[in-house]
């Protein structure tokens, strides 16, 4: 996957060198800068994301997804596009967004660890699991763009995010825990505050994330358009040292919204 990203970057850079054919004339620095900015486009975006932070390929221990509760996943920000040649361009943006998730799943023999203030209870859980994640972040997308015509634009490239607010908590309920291993003491869990197994892994969430973004813009008018993006996390949601969950979780979110051409 890393090689794929690298090749994408190389393509983007070589495209830009193709477009900026070397000019033999002597321009002064100011003129160069002016030239750079004269066709720079700017866009504002406002969107809403749906998705999840999930393992790639659901493990067999997760039996069903019973609830998927929509979250306040707004995304807004601005992009600059430097046209490079007739159809291509390079997009750099800064977005502020939330990739939250609230799900309820049925699990079987699923490794869990309940923690509170240094005390832990760990084992294999069979029953229901309610998880809630919040990730407010600044995201910097760097994308190659391709204008099919003056209405349609395709986008592809990596993104880098920095989380300013993070949370991942939840509880296991209506089931039972085999403490330690499947042969350990069997402890029933109910569905009141006092009968659940609570967990909170916010301190184990990675602050910096990166991944791959792909999207499409469609302009109804010269200024207004709609967009649909997919951001596929390639860095694990939790730090490498986090071993409580057997699978690595990746944030995968789709965003739809409106785009406005500022200039």
């Amino acid at each position: 996957m890393k090689r794929f990203i690298t090749s994408l970057l190389i393509i983007a850079i070589s495209l830009s060198s193709l477009a900026n054919e070397p000019d033999r004339d002597d321009y002064d620095d100011m003129k160069n800068l002016k030239n750079f900015f004269h066709n720079l486009e700017a866009y504002g975006r406002l969107g809403y994301s749906i998705g999840g932070t999930a393992p790639l390929g659901i493990p067999a221990t997760i039996r069903s997804l019973d609830k998927f509760i929509l979250q306040p996943n707004v995304s807004f920000g601005a992009d600059a596009i430097k046209p490079l040649g007739r159809n291509f361009g390079l997009l750099v943006g800064l977005h502020f967004e939330n990739k939250a998730m609230h799900i309820d799943a049925t699990v079987k023999n699923y490794h869990m660890k309940f923690t509170q203030g240094g005390q832990t209870l760990e084992g294999m859980f069979t029953g229901h699991n309610d998880s809630h994640a919040v990730q407010w972040m600044f995201t910097l997308p760097i994308q190659a763009t391709y204008n099919i015509n003056n209405k349609w634009r395709l986008k592809l490239g990596p993104y880098f995010s920095y989380l300013v607010s993070r949370n991942f908590d939840g509880f296991a309920y209506d089931g039972y825990l085999r403490e330690g291993t499947p042969t350990g003491p069997k402890v029933l869990l109910g569905n009141t505050d006092e009968e659940r197994g609570n967990y909170d892994f916010k301190d184990d969430i990675r602050k910096c994330q990166w991944g791959l973004g792909v999207g499409v813009d469609y302009f109804f008018t010269r200024k207004f358009g709609a967009y649909a993006d997919l951001s596929w996390g390639l860095s694990g949601f939790f730090k490498g040292s986090f071993k409580t969950l057997d699978q690595t979780l990746y944030p995968i979110y789709g965003t739809i919204g409106i785009v406005y051409k500022i200039r």
Binding site: G51, A54, P59, Q119, L121, P182, P185, V214
Partner: protein, 388 residues
């Protein structure tokens, strides 16, 4: 137009990719557990083998790996075929229903999980109980050891009238371990008192259950010890049901005596950690004899929520006002108060269960008490009626 088709295709791809990770559920994994959940013996003549039909079936608690059938002293145990309910898909060797000679000692069974990755070993034994004529049963708390699975809390054995050691004493230590897994044996609510009235005694201390216990509305654990079983399955959900009081009993108890010391902790708190400056913790020592079956013959067990109030109760003895004792051993000597007429026929069929309960906080079952309250107990003696 061609572009709108492409648009639809892209949007579909986006939607598909976001849902792909949540929609592809694999086939259900094979079961990893390997428990004997229930054991039973089918014999042609129940009456001559067992004291009561209820003794033919045993519900096995998840932490138990020893299954004991209690039988008449003269029962024939040379060819018995115990049957088992095990975790779905698991296998058991020797087979459920295979015939064994239990007079040669316990038989070992191995249960292997459906996925083949886990196994548990159980021993099944037949305990032929004869009635020993005695007028006195002593509980001196000299036989204790660390639990065999975790080696981090104490368990006790009682001396049976025939001189052998029984497993009738239980405590909530196992439940405490769930929230305080790092505690040392002497930091558990129920622990060994090195300097008892004579030799060792028991030391019951009301402990904090730490942040995990507090989060689950069980902020304290009173030291407790009782004749019966502790079912860890209910430790989180129905805590009062986790204490299964009583063991089948062969005697008519008359009086209970022994020695205790008590020192209340401070401050007195309730389950939400609210402090009550004017309340002082107290200890509790009581004993109950009750009918272990109802009028239709179904077995009855008394729990934390009805051991002192059930209509099954036949006799109660309770030490009054266990308060601060200033470091001195206090002798208690109380008589059983019979609420129902004692029936020797029921006794002969082992129809009575008997328990003795010690607790370092009288309201510990509802998580009210003071952290640090200490009850020391030793040299408990039960006087029973002499019967032929």
């Amino acid at each position: 137009m061609i572009f709108s088709n492409r648009n639809i295709a892209i949007l579909l791809a986006v939607t598909a990719l976001t849902t792909v990770s949540t929609s592809c559920f694999k086939e259900e994994p094979l079961n990893a557990e390997c428990d004997i959940e229930k054991a039973w013996l089918h014999v042609d003549d129940v009456e001559s083998t067992f004291y009561t039909p209820n003794d033919t079936i045993i519900e096995v608690i998840s932490t138990e790996d020893k299954i004991t059938f209690t039988m008449r002293g003269d029962a024939d145990i040379t060819a018995l075929a115990p049957q088992f309910t095990i975790t779905q898909g698991a296998t058991i060797t020797p087979a459920s229903g295979s015939v064994h000679d239990f007079s040669q000692g316990p038989v070992t069974y191995t249960v292997t999980s459906q996925d083949g990755k886990w196994s548990r070993t159980y021993t099944v034994e037949c305990n032929r109980v004869s009635h020993y004529i005695t007028s006195e049963i002593n509980y001196n708390f000299e036989h204790f050891e660390l639990d065999s699975r975790y080696h981090n809390f104490y368990i006790w054995h009682n001396t049976l009238p025939d001189g052998s050691l029984g497993n009738d004493w239980a405590s909530g230590n196992e439940g405490f371990r769930l929230s305080m897994s790092k505690a040392k044996p002497e930091e558990y609510p129920t622990s060994v008192l090195n300097e008892g009235y004579e030799g060792h005694g028991v030391l019951l201390t009301t402990r904090t259950t730490g942040s995990l216990g507090k989060m689950n509305g069980k902020p304290i654990a009173a030291g407790n010890m009782f004749l019966g079983k502790f079912d860890i399955a209910k430790a989180m959900t129905a805590t009062l049901k986790a204490t299964e009081f009583g063991v089948p009993f062969d005697y008519k108890p008359l009086r209970l005596e022994g020695y205790y010391q008590y020192s209340p902790g401070s401050p007195f708190i309730d389950k939400s950690f609210t402090e009550y400056p004017n309340r002082i913790d107290a200890g509790d020592i009581y004993s109950v004899l009750y009918l272990n079956h109802d009028s239709r013959g179904n077995s009855v067990v008394l729990y934390g929520d009805n051991v002192l109030s059930s209509s099954q109760i036949v006799a109660i003895a309770r030490v009054k006002d266990i308060k601060k004792t200033n470091g001195q051993w206090v002798h208690f000597d109380i008589e059983y108060e019979y609420l129902k007429e004692f029936d020797y026929d029921i006794l002969a069929r082992r129809g009575y269960n008997f328990t003795i309960v010690f607790s370092s906080s009288i309201n510990g079952a509802t998580f009210e008490g003071a952290i640090g309250s200490e009850l020391k107990v030793d040299k408990v003696r039960l006087t029973c009626e002499i019967m032929e």
